[in-house]
């Protein structure tokens, strides 16, 4: 018998037990997060959406505003804004549906705000379908569908720059945000700020 044996018998089991408990908790924890129910609050929807395809679990949406039965609803995978509004009892008479993209796909945890008709343009633009759609306010040029001529009509945009914008759109599959114009050669922060009020994605 050597000097280590007394230590093993006195304290060694503690370390073994700690190792086993840690391992089992980690195992269970990883299993839970792998199945999609263990996402921590800190990860947010960005993480949970990235880890869990929408088809794995039915998304939950919060429909508020001018609908008959505002509330939180579980909805089928790949559902659209239209279905969410129907689940909430449909729009009220006061609802302004022009600012909503009814075809937009819904993500888990999304809030859909149906604005009233009396809402200002800014409110409708911000609140539409949880922001899934641009408001499409009049006078604005849509980056996703504008022609070179449409773009050239904007102050500070010439034929070359308009073409570069269209080239960028073709290469990247479209614009999801006006801010992406920053990545087009020849458009700096100043010009982007000047153009922003006249553009929608």
């Amino acid at each position: 018998m050597d000097g280590l044996l007394p230590w093993i018998r006195r304290s060694g089991w503690v370390y073994g037990l700690v190792a086993v408990v840690l391992a089992l908790v980690a195992w269970r924890w990883a299993g839970e997060s792998g199945s999609g129910s263990g996402a921590s609050a800190a990860t947010g929807s960005v993480t949970s959406q990235a880890r869990r395809p929408m088809t794995e679990a039915a998304p939950i949406v919060h429909v508020i505003g001018e609908v008959r039965h505002p509330g939180v609803y579980r909805i089928g995978g790949d559902a659209r804004v239209l279905q969410a509004i129907r689940l909430a009892g449909g729009p009220t008479r006061k609802a302004n549906l022009q600012g909503l993209n009814m075809a937009a796909v819904i993500g888990d945890g999304q809030q859909i705000i149906v604005p009233p008709k009396v809402a200002t343009r800014a409110t409708a633009a911000g609140g539409g379908a949880g922001g899934n759609s641009a408001a499409g306010t009049s006078g604005q040029v849509s980056l996703s569908s504008a022609t070179a001529a449409d773009l050239e009509a904007l102050d500070g945009v010439g034929p070359a720059l308009a073409q570069r914008i269209i080239d960028w759109r073709t290469a990247h599959g479209g614009f999801s945000s006006v801010d992406q114009l920053d990545e087009v050669s020849g458009i700096g922060p100043t010009r982007l700020d000047a153009l922003r009020p006249h553009l929608t994605p």
């Binding site: 089991w13 370390y15 840690l22 924890w29 800190a42 960005v46 945890g109």
Partner: protein, 499 residues
């Protein structure tokens, strides 16, 4: 092996177990399979138990160490899986409320804050709880920590593809999912609950610690007392780094000890019992750590201080290496990604340097220098040598004037910390007294600032270092303890002055 040697070995076995656990936790973020590591841990624990039953003690110890390593790996990997954030990759518009989680920093380009999404909505809006960077225009009044603010702006990736690797690593470590650019903010309220109480403590401490001071002097006083470089100009920040004095702005064990000793003295004067004093010290140290900037350094110092107090409370001996490794294990168990944090690496490297390098250097220097001066030089040398490899690999440069600058600044820094903390309490009792005490602390801060400016202006103050230089620098750092060990073991050989 003689029985005494075996007993000595047995004393080191718990350290080996802790070290194995720490190594395992550090391996967790590298994508280890959780199930395999967990199964390995359980299997090796069973093997260790069987070996111990059959009196194969050494093999049992090895099996237990491997079990700890595997368990640490499983835990680390599972924790990373559960907490890691997938960054946002698209752009959109958001508006709503966020909670300011850390003190914002102001640069020439922007006011930047780490925030937590509270109630954001809009395209690509993250759910409540997601951590974000908030960029506000330069010149905007920064919000205070714990404030709930309303913002409206664009949200997008926090890093572009062309961003440097260290920026991606920082975002991953901080669990930041996206960046919000807003034109301004509107106060809505403050965070509630326990986190809100901590926010209130942080705001109180930050307001009182440098009352009546402004600019870089206020930032240095605040940083030395509470940690961090909040409010410091970019130029001064760079000069502090170049002069090797930035560590003075990290909360160290000295700060925590000052708070604990101060409370013990107060309670002792009031006639409190030993146990009451220990409890009071623990509460004061805990409150102080919560009021600080929350970096790795203060977490380490707080954990080690707490373990030392627990040992005192239970009548057990203080085992500094155990405390250091246990603190590291706790920090890594909470956030395994922090192994990549230069702040954590520097903090632990500095303590290792104080434990291993400073004592032999100090003994050697005492032959030439007065005791306090020798100790000061030894501590600066120990911490400097131990952190040099981390600086080379993490930051790509090394301060050549650090030792000299520290010799002047460190003796000043200790009193500044004490005076600033006294001033914090004094300001709460009677504001003019707090301002007066803070002015005294400002004298020390001014000296530190002067040293930083002079030292960083010396040609060659900072030498660029390739990452591979960490290896030879590690060997250099290991030289003093190795030499000392060799001098003690070789018969007839002593140190130059026979010490």
């Amino acid at each position: 092996m003689p029985l005494g040697g075996a007993h000595a070995l047995a004393r080191h076995v718990p350290l080996a177990m802790l070290a194995a656990l720490v190594v395992g936790l550090a391996l967790g973020p590298f994508g280890a399979p959780v199930a395999t590591a967990a199964a390995g841990a359980v299997a090796m624990a069973v093997v260790g138990w069987m070996l111990a039953r059959n009196a194969h003690s050494r093999a049992a110890v090895v099996a237990l160490a491997v079990a700890c390593l595997c368990a640490g790996t499983a835990w680390g990997a599972a924790r990373v899986q559960a907490t890691e954030v997938r960054p946002l990759t698209r752009w959109g518009h958001v508006q709503g409320t966020v909670v300011v989680d850390q003190w914002p920093s102001a640069t020439r380009r922007a006011v930047r804050a780490q925030v937590i999404a509270d109630g954001l909505w809009g395209s690509a809006a993250p759910a409540a709880g997601a951590r974000l960077l908030l960029d506000l225009p330069s010149g905007t009044r920064p919000p205070e920590v714990g404030e709930v603010i309303q913002v409206s702006g664009t949200i997008g990736p926090a890093a572009q593809d062309r961003a440097p690797d260290w920026w991606f690593a920082w975002l991953r470590r901080k669990h930041i999912a996206a960046r919000v650019k807003a034109d301004g903010w509107t106060p809505v309220g403050t965070r509630g609950g326990a986190a809100g109480d901590r926010d209130a403590l942080r705001r109180w401490a930050a307001r009182n610690v440098a009352a009546g001071l402004s600019g870089d002097i206020a930032a240095i006083v605040r940083g030395m007392a509470l940690g961090g470089g909040m409010g410091m100009s970019e130029d001064t920040s760079q000069r502090m780094r170049d002069a090797g004095l930035w560590h003075l702005l990290a909360v160290s064990g000295q700060n925590v000890a000052v708070v604990g000793i101060g409370m013990a003295a107060l309670l002792g004067a009031a006639g409190a019992s030993r146990r009451s004093r220990l409890v009071g010290m623990g509460l004061a140290m805990g409150a102080y750590c919560l009021a600080c900037d929350g970096g790795a350094s203060v977490a380490r110092a707080g954990l080690m201080g707490g373990l030392a107090l627990a040992a005192d409370f239970g009548g057990a001996p203080r085992l500094r290496w155990h405390a250091l490794l246990l603190a590291l294990a706790v920090l890594l168990a909470w956030d395994p990604l922090s192994i990549d944090d230069p702040g954590l690496q520097l903090s632990f490297a500095a303590v290792c340097g104080l434990f291993v390098i400073a004592p032999p250097v100090g003994r050697w220097l005492r032959g030439w220098l007065p005791g306090p001066v020798a100790d000061l030089v030894a501590q600066s040398t120990g911490a400097g040598l131990a952190t040099a490899p981390v600086l080379a690999s993490g930051f790509g440069n090394l301060s050549t004037v650090g030792l000299l600058a520290n010799l002047i600044a460190v003796p000043v820094a200790g009193p500044v910390v004490v005076i600033a903390l006294v001033g914090t309490v004094a300001h709460a009792l009677w504001a003019p007294l707090g301002v007066l005490v803070a002015l005294v602390a400002a004298i020390g801060a001014w000296i530190v600032l002067l040293v930083a400016r002079v030292a960083s202006s010396i040609p060659g103050a900072v030498v660029p270092m390739p990452a591979w230089a960490a290896l030879p620098l590690s060997l250099v750092a290991g030289l003093p303890p190795t030499l000392w060990w060799w001098l003690r073991r070789v018969p007839g050989v002593t140190s130059p002055r026979g010490t």
